[in-house]
């Protein structure tokens, strides 16, 4: 079934992708896989080496944060919108200097 994926501006400043992409899929994983197949440059931005969702990236289905960040098994339905968004937690380490000594 067809769902729309919308990419955040904070992602599009780094990788050349449209704001909206229509893909086929019954789960968030299938939709993300379909997106990456057509836009492979997104792969490393959204998923880590083990194909897990990056720690500071969120996926919403309509107005709900997905519940399965490991497998992305949340279901999507025809007409749903899936949002790929940077988590605001992403800047915390920088401001707090969590690796400040680099030792």
């Amino acid at each position: 079934m067809s769902v729309e994926i919308r990419m955040a501006r904070g992602l599009r400043v780094h990788v050349d992708v449209p704001e909206r992409v229509e893909v086929e899929g019954a789960t968030a994983r299938e939709a993300i896989d379909a997106l990456i197949e057509t836009h492979p440059s997104l792969r490393r931005f959204v998923l880590d080496d083990a194909y897990r969702l990056r720690e500071h990236v969120n996926i919403y289905i309509n107005d709900e944060l997905i519940s399965d960040r490991q497998q992305l098994s949340d279901s999507v339905s025809m007409g749903d919108t899936l949002y790929i968004l940077p988590a605001v937690s992403g800047g915390a380490g920088d401001e707090m200097g969590s690796e400040q000594e680099r030792s």
Binding site: L11, R44, D48, H56, E101, R102
Partner: protein, 356 residues
């Protein structure tokens, strides 16, 4: 006399400097890779590429290179684990190897990667990851990282690597087998029977002119080795203390080395707020305190492990950056210093090269 290029990596981007008038003047690029945490940058004289390793809190690590002084950047391959468990968090080091197209990458979490096609593809050096001592490796304050690699310019199969807190390993066959070279290093964080397993290396260089000569800043002291790390000689006499991060060698002289001692792993800043670089020219038997032009009061910043570089010119140019975004430089072997830039983001790495 020669001119030099300078790469100043910061937590908010990269600055590229190019000297003129015998290093008296510097022309600076605009901020490159702005907004990304630039972990490391280096110039590869073989390919003419400036490599830039940057990571982003949300979008992960990337490698880019430029062949036009940062006018444009091309994304290279990015090292990635293939075991379905680990994921590359940051690329702390890019080191050109001895053969054309050969590069090494020091990775967090604790691994070494190798590329044989000039950074297009990368493979984990599993012979190192699987070393029997790897079970003893433990993260330092910033994580488990291999951050120093020296490749012998005359023998690309001789490789010396070190990390936090992994200890030191040497290979003589291009990375097929690795020998731990930690005997004689005193590590307060390890019990007596484990002293030779995983010392906390802060910086490590093999000297290109004298095979076997290694210089190390360790968490618990400054060391020299004359036999590729089979034994280590502590060279603290004349230094204000044991702790510190960066090391710079003098490529003209195996007996010369530079450290920036910091006050313990508790304070992590120069003693008494007085910034100084220390230089030996007699293999660590004695040390010169070099503070001419450096702030001698109220300096409460850290000089990170990669943030001291040398340009290979004669006299030697030395450049270092601080966690407070100040860049200092010397073009007379460290005898005098000047503030080159300020108000930058925390400086993670400084690397320089001679432009022939």
């Amino acid at each position: 006399m020669s001119e030099a290029g300078l790469l100043v990596s910061t937590r908010k981007g990269l600055l590229i400097g190019r000297s003129s008038n015998e290093r008296a003047h510097w022309e600076w690029s605009e901020l490159q890779r702005g907004g990304w945490i630039v972990d490391y940058s280096i110039f590869d004289p073989r390919s003419g590429k400036i490599w830039c390793s940057a990571s982003h809190w949300q979008w992960g690590p990337r490698l880019h290179y430029s062949t036009d002084w940062g006018e444009s950047w091309t994304e290279g391959g990015t090292p990635a684990f293939s075991d379905g468990e680990r994921s590359v968090e940051a690329i702390w080091l890019i080191e050109p190897g001895g053969r054309d197209g050969l590069l090494y990458a020091g990775i967090m979490p604790g691994a070494l990667f190798r590329s044989e096609d000039d950074g297009e593809s990368w493979q984990e050096v599993t012979t190192l990851s699987d070393h029997p001592y790897s079970k003893y490796w433990e993260p330092g304050a910033a994580g488990l990282v291999f951050h120093h690699v020296s490749v012998d310019p005359d023998d690309p199969d001789r490789i010396v690597v070190g990390g936090s807190a992994t200890g030191i390993y040497v290979s003589y066959d291009g990375g097929e087998r690795w020998e731990a070279r930690n005997a004689g290093i005193v590590s307060d964080h390890l019990p007596p029977e484990m002293q030779d397993t995983a010392p906390c290396v802060h910086s490590l260089f093999a000297h290109p002119l004298q095979q076997g000569r290694l210089w190390q800043q360790n968490h618990f002291g400054q060391y020299r080795s004359d036999d590729d790390g089979r034994s280590w000689i502590k060279v603290n006499d004349g230094l204000p203390g044991e702790f510190g991060f960066p090391t710079a060698i003098d490529p003209r002289d195996p007996d010369a080395c530079y450290f920036v001692p910091h006050d313990s792993d508790q304070a992590r800043m120069p003693y008494g707020g007085a910034l100084a670089v220390y230089r030996t020219r007699d293999a660590g038997a004695s040390w010169d305190r070099l503070d001419n032009g450096l702030p001698q009061t109220g300096f409460f910043q850290t000089v990170y492990r990669h943030a001291l570089g040398q340009d290979g010119c004669d006299p030697l140019g030395l450049y270092f950056g601080s966690s407070g975004g100040e860049l200092y430089g010397s073009v007379d072997d460290g005898d005098s210093w000047s503030l080159m830039r300020e108000h930058l983001a925390p400086i993670t790495a400084v690397r320089a090269w001679r432009m022939d």
